[in-house]
Symmetry: C2
Subunit: 342 residues, 2 copies
Amino acid sequence: MDAQRGSGTAAGDGDGEFLAAYDPRDFPAIAVTVDIVVLTLRQGALHVLLVERGARPFKGAWALPGGFVRAGRESLDEAAARELAEETGLDATHLERVHLEQLGSYGDPGRDPRMPVVTVAYLAFAPDLPEARGGSDASAAAWVPVGDLRLGAGEELSKDLAEGLSADLPADLSAELSADVSTDFATSDTPAFTEPDAARPRPPEQGPGHGTNGGDSVPRPADTQPPGRSLLLAFDHARIVADGLDRARAKLEYTPLATAFLGEEFTIVELRGVYEAIWGSPLHAGNFHRKVLSVPGFVESTGATAARGGARGGPRARLYRAGDARLLHPALLRPDREAGVR
Amino acid sequence: MDAQRGSGTAAGDGDGEFLAAYDPRDFPAIAVTVDIVVLTLRQGALHVLLVERGARPFKGAWALPGGFVRAGRESLDEAAARELAEETGLDATHLERVHLEQLGSYGDPGRDPRMPVVTVAYLAFAPDLPEARGGSDASAAAWVPVGDLRLGAGEELSKDLAEGLSADLPADLSAELSADVSTDFATSDTPAFTEPDAARPRPPEQGPGHGTNGGDSVPRPADTQPPGRSLLLAFDHARIVADGLDRARAKLEYTPLATAFLGEEFTIVELRGVYEAIWGSPLHAGNFHRKVLSVPGFVESTGATAARGGARGGPRARLYRAGDARLLHPALLRPDREAGVR
DNA sequence: ATAATAGTGTCTATAAGACAATATGCA
DNA sequence: TGCATATTGTCTTATAGACACTATTAT
């Protein structure tokens, strides 16, 4: 019932049933922030936007973009949208195409070693955006393949590191961090399936740009194990990212939000690439195609076709745009879930 | 990225890239509360736990149980569990059987007219509990049929009321509120479907107790229109309850949490009663029965059978307990959703 | 005895998955 | 030309819903 009780003992009113006296300063102040898990696809692989911390704790580590809520002057949603705009440096036009939803709140004691902080996490789906540059505060920002993240339980940076009691960060970790994300020409253009552990080392000979985009979706057995999954996140952000990925995977099942990762017009193959990147497993091309077209309101045809066919030949794919459905009926269920999280 | 930026202008460090200076008191303090949407079934109808406000704003109105998070001394989940225990007056044994999950956070400016408050809402599913009595602070608490609530958009109490500038509450509203929820022998024992507008007037001739519980689930066309849906909630709690109901309806589809509304052992018919009460529509008895038994891990048989058959005859139903599944595969989808929220 | 009710059987419509076939267009 | 590939077709299996039927038990 919100704010009806004092923090400690307060004088009851006449019959002692209710507390009448009230003073805002009676209540324990907690800092409230928003943090955003911004997901996008780059070269067919799922990436998350991270910023480098310039101050303790976790100085030099990577963290989710976010910031304080302006108390009483903006809603949580507005705060998240504002931070997203600031951190990505995008204008309103671009942000219109970004899906933003609340993910959940995190308030464990000690999650920020300095003071009690509750963060309201948001999840964003964005089309491939111009390269991330620092926001208003000019902090370093980068798109990081989610396969490069350590997201398991208990994989946050140790409390010791958080406190900054030792050095700010061990040298090897700092080095690995910058080597891992400071470059532009990240992941190869072969598709990277998120699960399980499909992140591959990025071959240095891979140049930037590299013509043909996304599209390709040939199954690729989990070949090389890490050096993926090595990047540690500050605070409890690994947990938040993991929760965001879970949410994203679930949302693709029963909403058409996969289209939020694509441009205004897209092909069914590109759409399938979104599903494959986020679910981390290949889908049957023919069945997926028919399924998408059979779900009412998922996509609608533009008369047009893609400028060219597949990378190595084939007919030009037809172009579609997002339909008017908010929910998919019937849903596109992930394969294999019976053997799953029973 | 949590707490890395000052509230206003702060001195940059050497290269001006990052803010180094930090003082907790720089940051805007926001009160953080938890509010809980506790759902249970009483006489086959879905009820929500509400407490009466004893102080302004919204004095005399009903609100969700909740309270302040003890900054830095408990997690959000712990705060919710603590408030739930306090407000229901239940011991740990009973609370073990209660499902509690985070629902979402609400922080619109002005949602509490006194100061900025962010509330982290929780959703609880509880079996039929002993009568709600006030918690530690002895505020009045009651189980209210959800059909008696006004949950539509823009149906919160007006800002005028919130401010308490006029009287605390108009006389007629106060009267209606107490008449609606102060009694124990609420809803009739015929099932009440939540949607659409199936709340029925409670016939005064219906005595308390009334022997046979739940069970019955004959479809009942929405016969009498209101006087249901008349109860207004304080703050933005109508919105929170509506979101909680949406979440509950969705959760029944793909989790076995319907069993959290029942005792340790239950019959398939009772389980169907949960679905019907929360989804607000009758389900086909035979198909539901077969479906539940076919989903692996949903329920497991105890060898026993119920003490007696249906209220007016019929074989004794077999008893089941909750299985070990966390998710239902395949899910139990709500009927009619194609025509739904496209 | 009668009627209500728990549980099962059967049939149909829909949807998902495996696989094949066709046609298109880049190299 | 040759091969990759977008799209469609076919078949099988799984699932959901409508309906009928049997057996049991409260009144």
